[in-house]
């Protein structure tokens, strides 16, 4: 493979990677907090709320993300809800990933012992003080490995935006491959995904380590 060719196509691949990263970033930034809030709802005592959220999680986890993406971009306009491609991708990814995160956080919340809530209560800490200062740090420690898996899945899942015509990393590689009839772009795409996942893995290890001060 000629190095020249690599340098020729890299800018377009980077451009695609930039979109991939944007989707990755915004999905995480919104869906993790949203997932926490949903998980609090799932574990709350308000029955109707719990029921609605359970249906939501069931729908999101029970149908393919690809279908949800197509539904938001091609389906919703039929009933008058129109999103730009990029927004459609974000909406679908955030809703989908928030559901997965909610399930993970629900498990996390349930594995914190009742005694922690009771100790906080007799000290007269409020619900939110308890959640913030005592429960969340313990939950985060518990859920980091599962969140890590989802984060890495998200890097790769982001390539699904291809189907609604967004120019992400995968599309950039595919375009170059069919235009120039060479495997090089696809190999470079694979390499870039590997690097992205590698960086995520490193960051996750750091986070895991940061929480290793308690048991």
């Amino acid at each position: 493979m000629s190095l020249n060719y690599v340098f020729e196509i890299l800018p377009s691949l980077f451009q695609g990677a930039w979109l991939t990263l944007q989707i990755f970033f915004w999905t995480l930034v919104v869906s993790i907090p949203l997932g926490i809030v949903v998980s609090l709802g799932l574990t709350s005592k308000i029955r109707p709320l719990q029921w609605i959220l359970e249906v939501y999680v069931w729908l999101m986890r029970g149908t393919p993300l690809l279908l949800q993406l197509i539904f938001v971009f091609y389906g919703l306009p039929i009933i008058g809800i129109v999103f730009q491609r990029y927004d459609a991708a974000l909406v679908a990814f955030i809703l989908n990933y928030a559901a997965y995160f909610a399930e993970i956080f629900r498990g996390g919340f349930q594995s914190v012992s009742v005694g922690q809530f009771e100790a906080a209560r007799v000290l007269r800490l409020s619900y939110w003080q308890t959640i913030r200062k005592i429960i969340i740090p313990q939950v985060v420690k518990i859920v980091i490995p599962s969140i890590g898996n989802e984060v890495i899945n998200l890097v790769k899942d982001s390539s699904l935006v291809y189907v609604i015509g967004l120019g992400d990393l995968l599309r950039a590689g595919n375009v170059a491959t069919s235009r120039d009839v060479t495997l090089v772009p696809l190999l470079l795409v694979a390499l870039i995904y590997l690097i992205l996942v590698g960086i995520c893995t490193l960051v996750l290890r750091r986070v895991e380590k940061r929480y290793s001060y308690f048991k």
Binding site: E118, R124, L125, K215
Partner: protein
């Protein structure tokens, strides 16, 4: 002086507490002794507001209070749990200062000064920066005591203070409780261990399961 009058609690149709009356005098230790299943923990959970009694009155120095309430006058009971329930994510110091800072709105400086004082009284002066997993059972219990005392309760309650510890630490616990009494703490101790209770109690209340 804590008075509990006619406290009743059932789980479903199982009566656990059938009109319990008790009094803990100032600067004294009341021990509630009875076999497992007698309802000791349930009684303590009602007094500390973790369980809602079916009926009963709680008086502190003659004034009624609500164990589940959030007013200053309701915040009179401190608790040392059977398995301590320290916050694993917080250092010993932060375990003790969290509630004084967040609930009593003490400054960090004041809260830490007071915590350091409590730690030194309990022989833990060097442990402030450690985390609960780095402590022995006896040390955890003393941190739990310090954490409860930092909220300046009028009475300190223990659920089975000897049960999570090595038998040879019983004397240690007795000593701590008696020392606190000397410094003017009113205490309520629930235990199944009659010998231990007789060693520390000013008054004994024996309870047994209701069938």
């Amino acid at each position: 002086m804590l008075e509990v009058k006619n406290l009743k609690k059932s789980f479903g149709d199982r009566v656990i507490l059938d009109g319990v009356n008790l009094t803990v005098n100032d600067d004294e230790i009341l021990c509630i002794v009875g076999p497992s299943g007698a309802g000791k923990t349930t009684l303590l959970r009602c007094i500390t507001g973790l369980e809602t009694p079916d009926s009963g009155t709680f008086l502190m120095n003659g004034q009624p209070f609500d164990p589940q309430g959030t007013k200053d006058s309701d915040r009179v009971i401190g608790v040392v749990f059977q398995d301590f329930n320290l916050f694993p994510n917080l250092s010993v110091m932060d375990n003790i200062t969290l509630a004084p800072m967040m609930v009593l709105k003490e400054t960090k400086k004041d809260a830490e000064k007071q915590a350091a004082q409590l730690l030194s009284e309990l022989g833990l002066s060097t442990k402030g920066d450690l985390y609960p997993w780095q402590l022995s059972g006896g040390q955890k219990q003393r941190v739990a005591i310090a954490r409860a005392l930092a909220m300046k309760p009028k009475i300190l309650c223990y659920d089975e203070p000897t049960s999570a510890l090595d038998p040879n630490l019983r004397q240690e616990v007795a000593k701590i409780i008696l020392n606190l009494k000397k410094s003017g703490m009113t205490q309520l101790v629930v235990t199944h261990d009659l010998d231990f209770a007789q060693e520390i109690a000013d008054n004994l209340l024996k309870v047994k399961p209701i069938d």
